[in-house]
Symmetry: C2
Subunit: 108 residues, 2 copies
Amino acid sequence: MNDLKWSKAEKTIARRAFDIAYERECENLAGRLKDKAGSIKEPRDLWLVHDFLSEQLKRIEQKYDFRYSVLILVFALLLKEGWLKESDLAGISEDKMEKIRYLANPKH
Amino acid sequence: MNDLKWSKAEKTIARRAFDIAYERECENLAGRLKDKAGSIKEPRDLWLVHDFLSEQLKRIEQKYDFRYSVLILVFALLLKEGWLKESDLAGISEDKMEKIRYLANPKH
């Protein structure tokens, strides 16, 4: 995967798709956080919301890694989780898309 | 302050006041958290809300210490910060209340 070459155009598309997925996931998390904050009934719920947020932010920080050496894996995960649609990656070469689809398939 | 004796009745009043202050402060924090979660505009706000919540929970954990050796200080702080009113401590001996009031006064 380290051997894949990304053209200048592909790099631009990749960056845009990466940023879109990040925005979508963060927006979704903000919504879930708002719901959880609005459902707090007792003090211990504050700690549960904090644990939830810590875990989600850690996951996001670990996942959104734009190094080209791991980008195929990152896009596969984002596709699998629904933060990206294939159309968001339109313009990425077919050999890369095949790898992304293959890794995104839950059977593999 | 370690020499103060707490009667059984005072211990009951102290525990109730302590719990009431804790509930009030946690409820207030839940409201502030809800507002902040509802005001998230961009991804980085998620991290700011997380930092805010971490700091507030740490403050609460440090502050709410029911050991009788520190309880006068704790009540003074809760009075100063408005989580307790003097009436919540009705029944606590006057010598203890004097110490609590003295320490709660911002001038000291």
